[in-house]
């Protein structure tokens, strides 16, 4: 138990003092949700709390998923939709099958770390957790070439039964949709992903925030630069904020949170709305 308590403190400390938030913060029904990865054990923690309450009061929930530390890093691919958490469990473990990496679990099933057993137990749970769908996009790219280079991916839930994923390897980016029964490959573009990218949806459309700051609107025919921002930082420098209460997508340049302040207070005056400030590229 002492060990678990240490882990919780560790996670909190780094969250509030510079541990990377993985890709994004989702705000819904007055609550925020974001994830971090334990720097020693690859396992993810979901952080959640009232947007008006001090961050130090947030809950830290153990997730049966995580990501590895391979170089280059592929940030943890996760999403929250309608009470369910979606995650690509890409931690390295001799029992973790990459083809079974795509998971979906109820948010309400997540427990605080002190009630979740050891890190080893959580990793074991993650490897045996029934997959949401076979990770067909990964199967596709590794069948195309067994050499992984410029390999990145991210996925989001479109609705209760539809999940969308973009995956890249070598000089190819492909867009996939799982419709609850099978995967459909929407398109393939011969573009080299020089680093990771993040997906988000807005106004019923799927967008990709690319490594260099370009935001693409995904259509079946092509990836269209959606607009130009006044300032378009590289993805590694920012964190996306998907605010479903305000129906907005914005970002902030990464900084260390103040645990005494609420999420709203921390983000005040830091958010740049992706769509409002966008200009043509």
């Amino acid at each position: 138990m002492r060990f678990i308590a240490f882990i919780v403190l560790f996670v909190i400390a780094f969250t509030l003092h510079g541990q990377n938030i993985e890709r994004k913060i989702i705000i819904e029904n007055g609550h925020y949700f974001y994830t971090t990865i334990d720097e020693q054990h690859q396992i993810a923690t979901m952080h959640t709390g009232d947007v008006s309450a001090p961050l130090k009061k947030e809950r830290t929930l153990a997730m049966p998923s995580g990501r590895n530390y391979n170089d280059p890093v592929i940030p943890f691919s996760w999403d929250f939709h309608n009470g369910d958490v979606y995650a690509v469990n890409f931690l390295v473990n001799p029992l973790n099958d990459r083809m079974e990496a795509l998971k979906r679990f109820s948010f309400n099933s997540l427990k605080e770390w002190e009630k979740s057993g050891s890190v080893q137990d959580m990793i074991a749970l993650s490897t045996d957790y029934t997959p949401f769908a076979k990770f067909e996009p990964y199967n596709y790219v590794t069948k195309q070439s067994n050499i992984l280079s410029n390999f990145f991916f991210d996925g989001i839930a479109i609705n209760d039964s539809t999940y969308s994923m973009v995956i890249s390897n070598k000089n190819e980016i492909s867009w996939w949709t799982f419709n609850g029964r099978y995967w459909l490959q929407s398109n393939v573009w011969y573009v080299t992903a020089l680093n990771y990218f993040s997906l988000f949806k807005w106004d019923h459309k799927t967008y990709m925030y690319a490594w260099d700051g370009t935001v693409y609107k995904m259509t079946e025919e092509k990836m269209v630069p959606a607009a130009i921002l006044e300032e378009t930082p590289p993805l590694k420098d920012i964190t996306l904020v998907i605010n479903r209460d305000k129906n907005s997508v914005s970002y902030f340049k990464n900084f260390s949170f103040n645990s005494e302040k609420s999420m709203n207070e921390n983000l005040e005056d830091r958010l740049v709305n992706v769509f409002v400030s966008m200009k043509k590229r």
Binding site: Q40, N70, N146, I147, L148, S149
Partner: protein, 414 residues
């Protein structure tokens, strides 16, 4: 008057100018510290607390390692204390190091006294020759015998410094988020590849560390492959910090020991896993490494090709993580292929990670090489497995027929 003369003579004998004393006790010159510089490489501590600092040697106990790229000469500065009531203005200091490395005599100023103690500083000085270009060297220790002199002719000992010193063949590959210039990486690499110069020879000699299933860190401590059967350590850093880790890390340690010598090989890191073929409606995505004991098959009617069945709840490796635990079982783990410092490591896997260099597969966990994937399968596996979950129970079915699946490989550059 006689008393006065005697007193004067006595004072002269007892308080000599140190340089003029015929019966001088020279042990009062003490080596305090030695600092290496001149392009020496960063060496990170295995415990993850960052690089070693300076001075690399202190009389108080620091004996930090030092590393250079071949073709460079070591450069040192040193400090001493000199206990003398009537010290001269200057003295001479020199050093004689391992590998016939001389550090030239330098006239140094004797510092002002604090009581009877004076400080002496030997200035930053390059060794007399460069380490031979393109040759790996390993000095454990690299000693420097320090001497001082009042006249530059007669020399007296002033202490010895000892540091482990590594000479890598070429500039190491740049650090990444995973590849760090750790102490053990230098040590394992230079210890095994001493005097080697070609890529092939360096790879071959570094590999020799892994052949006997005893992989040692710089302190000669064992690095364990699955000391606990579900070790959460999957990175080079965590292997070296915890001395116990999974297969990934031994592959990374081998590659790191190659990269630290400046050897470049791309597409060197191989992830192997079953091809995910379907048998009896389920995906084959597990394999078992020798040895397993097979009892009476209980699932032949369920799946004739995978007739052995074990079941478990939640996990096969519950605390204290020392053995597989099954609710029911037809097969059981037995001592078989040993791993590094472990007689019977974990052996029920979805995947394994190994090194591929110049067409040869190196499995650093087990200290064996293979010409191709098929050879791995037949040399190391006792069977394949698939599993499904029903309620809270996971059913794992096994076969000893290795034709029931195959291995696939995914390759990255580490």
């Amino acid at each position: 008057m006689q008393k006065i003369v005697h007193g004067f003579l006595l004072a002269w004998v007892l308080s000599p100018l140190c340089a003029n004393s015929q019966n001088f006790n020279y042990s009062n010159v003490d080596l305090v510290s030695v600092t290496f510089s001149g392009g020496n490489l960063t060496i990170k501590k295995d415990n993850g607390t960052g690089p070693y600092g300076t001075p690399q040697f202190t009389a108080a106990g620091n004996e930090y390692p030092v590393a250079y790229v071949s073709g460079n000469a070591p450069t040192v500065a040193a400090s001493f204390t000199f206990d003398c009531a009537n010290a001269p203005d200057s003295m001479w200091i020199r050093g004689t190091g391992s590998d016939a490395m001389d550090f030239a005599a330098k006239k140094v100023v004797v510092g002002p006294p604090s009581g009877t103690i004076h400080n002496l500083s030997y200035p930053t000085t390059a060794g007399s020759h460069a380490f031979t270009a393109s040759i790996v060297r390993f000095f454990k220790p690299f000693t420097i015998d320090w001497e001082f002199s009042f006249d530059g002719i007669t020399w007296h000992t002033a202490g010895t410094s000892e540091n482990t010193l590594y000479v890598v063949r070429d500039t190491p590959q740049p650090e990444t988020s995973q590849f760090k210039w750790f102490h053990t990486v230098y040590d394992l690499s230079c210890r095994n590849a001493q005097y080697e110069s070609t890529d092939t020879a360096i790879i071959s000699h570094v590999w020799s560390e892994f052949l006997d299933h005893v992989v040692l860190n710089w302190e000669d401590d064992s690095l364990f492959y699955y000391k606990i059967m579900n070790s959460p350590n999957v990175t080079l850093a965590s292997l070296l910090a915890n001395k116990d880790a999974e297969c990934y890390t031994f592959a990374q340690l081998f590659l790191a020991a190659i990269k630290i010598q400046g050897v470049v090989r791309t597409n060197n890191y191989v992830y192997i896993t079953p091809i995910n073929n379907t048998v009896c409606g389920n995906t084959v995505n597990r394999f078992i490494v020798k040895n397993w004991t097979f009892g009476t098959p209980s699932a032949a009617s369920e799946c004739p090709d995978f007739p052995y069945k074990n079941t478990y709840t939640f996990t096969t490796l519950p605390p204290p993580y020392t053995a597989y635990v099954w609710d029911t079982y037809d097969i059981s783990d037995a001592v078989g292929i040993p791993g590094s410092c472990t007689k019977n490591p974990s052996s029920y896997f979805n995947n394994h990670q190994i090194v591929k260099l110049d067409g040869v597969y190196y499995d650093a966990c087990y200290g064996v090489t293979f010409p191709n994937l098929a050879a791995i399968e037949y040399a190391a596996f006792d069977g394949y497995s698939y599993r499904y979950t029903s309620g809270f129970t996971t059913h794992a079915l096994f076969t000893t027929d290795l034709t029931q699946s195959d291995l696939s490989e995914t390759i990255t550059t580490w």
